[in-house]
Point group: C2
Chain length 169, copies 2
């Protein structure tokens, strides 16, 4: 079973964390929440879902995990204002392990500069940013390009879960 | 005296609206709040400052104003998910009239594709997006490039007000 890191902070889009994580756990996978500070409780944007951050991103390494989930909302933008989460995502992407980014999740990939020439989708407000980052933007409910699975918004969650689960062993 | 449009919606960075607007009004300028729906009350991200949207962006034209203010926070990202605010900003920029963007304000300029080869600054989380949009990013408290005045964050507000006021007649 896989050990998945969910990288997140306040204002995450609640269902983009709760629904994939529920599905992953029901299939026997483990999810560790990583963020700016271990022990901190962060809250979702819409329903204020409280989520405990198990580990600071500075206390973990990509080797500790099998896959990475990046929920959307305003959380990715808050994370990419700090160096450590960006460095972690960059290193994780170069490891070749599965990365699952939904909605605004691609913002972290843009700042990490890891989507050049990759097929990617994301929330409508960041389409221009995705294109400017050198990616091939695709307007689909889910886009799979090698290790990278991306979706546009909460409506795409079923397809996002379906395709991300295929990359978990 | 100038008629300034402030384009905004929920989650704007409170002081990036309240402080410049206070300064503009004290100098005799007029500020009209435009957004997604006229008559709507939007709220700031930090202090929940309530602000009435006077006009929908679909009911105004750049010709109605002398300058445009884009406060930051998450408001610019929410606005650029809609076509009308992006089209308005694009048209406003091509009019050559003054545009004042602070913090995440540059996100609207990126989606409107109007900062190619322009000197621009913005909030640290969007630096890569500004560069990818073809702009010359500058890490300064205020950057003036022709009609365009930009600043990085709330700490830059005094410089932002000082330089934007110079472009108001």
């Amino acid at each position: 079973m896989s050990k998945i890191a969910s990288i997140m902070t306040d204002y995450f889009e609640d269902v983009e964390y709760t629904e994939p994580v529920k599905a992953y756990k029901e299939s026997g996978h483990d999810v560790i929440n990583i963020g700016l500070q271990g022990g901190q409780t962060v809250k979702g944007k819409r329903e204020q879902t409280p989520v405990e951050i198990h580990k600071s991103v500075t206390d973990v390494r990509p080797e500790d995990f099998d896959a990475l989930l990046i929920p959307g909302g305003f959380s990715p933008d808050l994370l990419r204002g700090h160096e450590a989460p960006v460095a972690f995502v960059k290193e994780f992407m170069s490891s070749g392990k599965p990365v699952f980014a939904i909605c605004h999740g691609a913002q972290l990939l843009i700042t990490a500069d890891v989507i050049r020439n990759r097929k990617v989708t994301g929330y409508k407000s960041i389409i221009q940013d995705i294109k400017n980052a050198g990616a091939d933007f695709q307007d689909s409910e889910v886009v799979v390009d090698g290790n990278l699975v991306s979706s546009r918004n909460p409506g795409d969650i079923p397809a996002f879960i379906r395709e991300s689960m295929k990359l978990l062993s």
